[in-house]
Symmetry: C2
Subunit: 116 residues, 2 copies
Amino acid sequence: MTVRKFALTDVSFARSPGQDGDVFAANVIDQRHGAPVSIGYGRYAPNQSLVETIAVDDVMVVLQGQLSVSSDGSTVTAGAGEIVHMPKGSAVTIRSHDEGAVTAYVTYPHWQQASG
Amino acid sequence: MTVRKFALTDVSFARSPGQDGDVFAANVIDQRHGAPVSIGYGRYAPNQSLVETIAVDDVMVVLQGQLSVSSDGSTVTAGAGEIVHMPKGSAVTIRSHDEGAVTAYVTYPHWQQASG
């Protein structure tokens, strides 16, 4: 494997599995590439919500907009440049606001295999 | 562990080990927290360079400024919102430019243990 750079303009988004809202993911590194982590971009249309039990350790870096993540009765809201860590096993509701959101994410291990 | 949010304003930077340039790191999640990944922010003063063999899989999300990463004779340059993946074992030179840079990073496993 070599050092690689990725940009939002390089990727193709697909609807996140198991939900029918306008929430999309685009892996740039995953189980196909031999690294232990999956890396990608996420895109949330305005005012969407996604309810999920996180099957992997999931780190989101908010690049645009804002996301609120509720878990165990408390909520954190992250804007551009802020990081949200969702430990494996967390039962979360992720909500976007009026402006939608774009994230970069890293998961260990690969989320597509863990949630498959 | 619970869902947590981190902001650049929350952290305390320390000089990255093994180098004397103005390159700083601030872990927000690491081996003390029970997660498999380390998460943090990086800060590069203008025109610094860091030469390193990466002991872990290291993902940098550039938040401000630009970084160039050279490895195996080729160089990638990433700006705000772009992601650089440095696979474990990569021999890299990371350079900041006139405006310096701020990153969010995720490593698997914990970089402080691997490079210790």
